[in-house]
C-alpha cells in the first residue's frame, strides 16, 4: 500500500499553471528523488505535499511531515540545541532533553550545542535542520534542494551522512534536487518533472548500503547519461 498517493493534482499561481494533473506514489520507507529544470514545479510539488499552498486534486499523505528547506530555515535566534527542541514543549523536560541529546549526536554536533547558526558552517546548519525535523519523528521527510548551497566536498560528505541517517530511521523521503549524481546516489527511484508533469521514472539498481565509489562505475555514469537525456529530451 502507498504511503503517499497523489492523484490529478494541479497548482496554479494566478493564471500560471505550475503543476498540471500530476500523479505520484511512494511506499513507506522509500527514498524518491525528483529532478527537473528550474521552474518545472519541483518545489511547488513539495509545498503541495506539505499543504503549504492550495491545490486541486487529491493528496493522501500522513499529517506528520518534516521538511528541510533549500535555505535552511533554521532559526538564527536559537542555538543548535534550542532549534532541535523547538516545538517539543508537549514532552516532559527529561524526554525533551533526551531527544535533543540524541539528535545533536545524530547531527554530530554535541560540541556545538550552544552555538548559534551564524557560528556554524553551511553543512552543520543543514544537519541541524534535518535533526530538528527528525526530532518530531515525522513519517515523511520532504527535502528541497538541501545541499544546493554547499560546496562539492561538503555536499558529498552530507550525502553519505544522509544515507546513514536514512538507513537508521527509514523515513519516507521525497528529495528534490538539480543534481543527477546526487539523485542517483541517494534514491531508490528518480522521477523527472518536466513541463508541469512527471515525464519519466527510473528505478535505481544500485545495492545498499551505497558508498562514494559507485559514482565512478560505468553503470552509474550510463544511468546518469540516460537521465540527463530524459531531462533535456
Amino acid at each position: 500500500m502507498s504511503h503517499i498517493s497523489v492523484n490529478n493534482v494541479s497548482v496554479h499561481y494566478d493564471s500560471y499553471c505550475v503543476l498540471k494533473g500530476i500523479a505520484f506514489e511512494a511506499s513507506k520507507g522509500e527514498f524518491v528523488a525528483i529532478i527537473g529544470k528550474s521552474g518545472s514545479g519541483k518545489t511547488t510539488f513539495l509545498h503541495a505535499l506539505a499543504r503549504f499552498i492550495p491545490f486541486a486534486g487529491d493528496i493522501c499523505a500522513p499529517k506528520n511531515i518534516g521538511m528541510v528547506f533549500q535555505h535552511y530555515a533554521v532559526f538564527p535566534w536559537l542555538t543548535a540545541s534550542e532549534n532541535i527542541a523547538f516545538g517539543l514543549g508537549y514532552k516532559t523536560e527529561n524526554e525533551r532533553a533526551q531527544i535533543v541529546r540524541e539528535h545533536l549526536s545524530l547531527a554530530e554536533l554535541e560540541e556545538k550545542k550552544d552555538k548559534y547558526p551564524a557560528e556554524l558552517s553551511g553543512g552543520q546548519v543543514q544537519r541541524i535542520a534535518l535533526a530538528r525535523s527528525l526530532a518530531h519523528n515525522p513519517e515523511v521527510l520532504l527535502m528541497d534542494e538541501p545541499y544546493g548551497a554547499l560546496d562539492a566536498y561538503t555536499r558529498d560528505k552530507m550525502q553519505q551522512w544522509l544515507l546513514d541517517v536514512w538507513a537508521t530511521h527509514k523515513k519516507t523521503v521525497i528529495f528534490v534536487t538539480h543534481n543527477i549524481e546526487e539523485a542517483l546516489f541517494l534514491a531508490d527511484r528518480v522521477l523527472i518533472l518536466n513541463h508541469h508533469k512527471f515525464t519519466k521514472e527510473f528505478t535505481v539498481p544500485f545495492a545498499r548500503p551505497r558508498r562514494e565509489e559507485i559514482k565512478f562505475t560505468p553503470e552509474f555514469n550510463q544511468l546518469r547519461k540516460v537521465i540527463f537525456e530524459g531531462i533535456n529530451g
Binding site: F52, Q70, F75
Partner: protein, 251 residues
C-alpha cells in the same frame, strides 16, 4: 590608544578654541560663556542638587513614555504585520495619525491632562509609538516564508509561533525602530517640559533663559545631549548582550 587619541583630540581642540574665542573679546561673554564658566555652572547645579532632580525627573518621564509607546508599537506592529484583519481595521487610523508632528499634540494633551507627569508620558509614548510600529510592521511583513512554514510543521500553537518565531524574526527591525524612538523621546521630553513643568532638564533650560543664565543653559543642554548619547549606547550594548545572535547574523 590611537583610536582614543582620534576621539579625544578633536574634543580638546574644540574646547580650547571655544575658550579662546569666548575670552578673546570677539563675542559677548554673557551670550557665549567659555567652557570653564559652563563647567563651573554645571558644578554649581551638581552641588545644589538641581541637576540630579532634573535629570531624574526627565529620565523617568522619558523611560516611562518609551516603555509604553514601544510596547504598544511592537504589539500593534506584529498584529497589523501578520494578521490581515488587524491590518484592515487599524492601519488606516495609524496611517492618518502618523504624519502628524508629535509636538503638535502637546497643546491638546495639556488641555486634556494638564501639565503633570502623566501628560508628558502620554506625549512621549504617542511620539514613540509610530517609529516602533512602522519598523515592527515592516519586520513582521518580511519574515522569510520558510520560517513560518517550519513553525507550522513544528508546532500547532499560534501563540508560540507569534512569540518564538514572528517576534524574534522581526526583532532587528524592532530594535532599529526603538533606537529611532529614543531620539524622538528626547525631543518630546524637552518640548513637553518647555510647555509646562516644575522640574526636568527642559524646565531648567527654559528658566535659565528667563534668568539670562546662558552658562547654566549650556550646562543643561550639555547634560541633555550626553544623556541622549548615553541612553542610546546603553540600549545598543543591552541589545547586543541580550540578543547576541543579531550581531552574529548580520556579519
Amino acid at each position: 590608544m590611537k583610536r582614543f587619541l582620534w576621539f579625544i583630540i578633536p574634543i580638546i581642540l574644540t574646547v580650547v578654541l571655544w575658550e579662546v574665542v569666548s575670552r578673546g573679546g570677539f563675542v559677548s561673554l554673557a551670550l557665549f560663556p567659555p567652557p570653564s564658566k559652563v563647567a563651573a555652572a554645571l558644578w554649581e547645579m551638581v552641588t545644589a542638587g538641581t541637576l540630579f532632580y532634573d535629570t531624574r525627573d526627565s529620565l523617568g518621564r522619558l523611560l516611562a513614555g518609551l516603555l509604553i509607546g514601544s510596547a504598544v508599537g511592537i504589539l500593534m506592529g506584529l498584529l497589523t504585520g501578520r494578521m490581515k484583519s488587524f491590518a484592515n481595521v487599524l492601519s488606516p487610523v495609524i496611517q492618518i495619525l502618523r504624519p502628524l508632528p508629535p509636538v503638535a499634540i502637546i497643546p491638546l494633551v495639556i488641555v486634556w491632562f494638564g501639565i503633570d507627569d502623566g501628560a508628558k508620558v502620554f506625549s512621549i509614548a504617542f511620539a514613540v509609538f509610530f517609529p516602533v510600529w512602522i519598523n515592527t510592521y515592516i519586520g513582521a511583513r518580511q519574515i522569510p516564508q520558510a520560517f513560518l512554514w517550519s513553525a507550522q510543521l513544528l508546532t500547532s500553537s499560534s501563540v508560540k509561533t507569534f512569540r518564538d518565531v514572528v517576534f524574534p524574526a522581526a526583532l532587528p527591525f524592532v530594535i532599529a525602530g526603538i533606537r529611532n524612538a529614543i531620539a524622538i523621546a528626547f525631543i518630546m521630553v524637552f518640548v513637553s517640559e518647555l510647555a509646562g513643568a516644575s522640574s526636568g532638564l527642559g524646565y531648567r533650560i527654559s528658566i535659565t533663559h528667563l534668568a539670562y543664565r546662558i552658562d547654566e543653559m549650556m550646562a543643561a543642554l550639555f547634560v541633555l545631549a550626553a544623556l541622549g548619547a548615553l541612553v542610546d549606547q546603553l540600549f545598543v550594548l543591552g541589545t547586543r548582550k541580550v540578543f547576541p545572535w543579531i550581531k552574529l547574523s548580520s556579519t
